[in-house]
Symmetry: C2
Subunit: 134 residues, 2 copies
Amino acid sequence: MENNQPIVGIRSTKQRQAILDVFSDEQVHLSADEVYLLVKPTQPNISLGTIYRNLDLLTRIGALTQFILADGTRKYEKTSSHHHHLVCINCGETKNIPGCPLDREIKGYSKENEFHIVRHSFEIYGYCSSCQTK
Amino acid sequence: MENNQPIVGIRSTKQRQAILDVFSDEQVHLSADEVYLLVKPTQPNISLGTIYRNLDLLTRIGALTQFILADGTRKYEKTSSHHHHLVCINCGETKNIPGCPLDREIKGYSKENEFHIVRHSFEIYGYCSSCQTK
DNA sequence: TTTGCTGCAAATCGTTTGCAACACC
DNA sequence: GGTGTTGCAAACGATTTGCAGCAAA
């Protein structure tokens, strides 16, 4: 959305609350469309535009965090302590990994290259246990 | 493109060669549009469609590797030994990092979760030396 | 009453695809 | 000559945006 407007007054609407409710669990990782489908039952008239605008705003105020999978899919999750993801190539199930791989060695390498690290992404792709048996 | 056709006979055309030439250096990381701009001078009539079709084909035969940045940008590079990227948030300059962070600890965690790892992504974002001074 | 928020529809961006002409082998 | 490849334009999916009406505060 590339909206760099300063955030002034934020109102609490039922649409926004319904979207936030969907992300109550930290293990919830959803695309805009998935959020739309989940919110639709309680907010039948909600539009995809509203979903996108809210996901963007909630991300900008820090309530949600956005990340992009290797296939380009954009997903959102509730903001929580630093972690990474384990993503099933088959069913898309996404789990949080507590550890972080940004180790001393790599930090050292970046320093050598005079690179100032701001953030990083790390996702593991493979098959979850139930998809392996199929 | 989601093209799962078996690859039969591949021909050498000047368009395809021009695209490959752009990726002669391993430190070249480009989007489809950037390739288009670079190839245009020698192939004035080339179309973006041809660029996309060739990037896809060259990726499927393993000559190129595709990766997606945290902002959703799709990039291509010449296939080479396993590595990761250092990406400047400001100018977009992308450098290869030789090390790999997929360490014992994380592999162990995946095993605990009965997750079969196939591949992973890891990119570091920040500011390169020249963008820091500006 | 003010102004942020919504639904709707149109617009945009990156990418894919159908097709007829073309050019490799 | 056969078929892989190309340029072109239309189609596509995900996301963004303009606008007028609505609703929180």
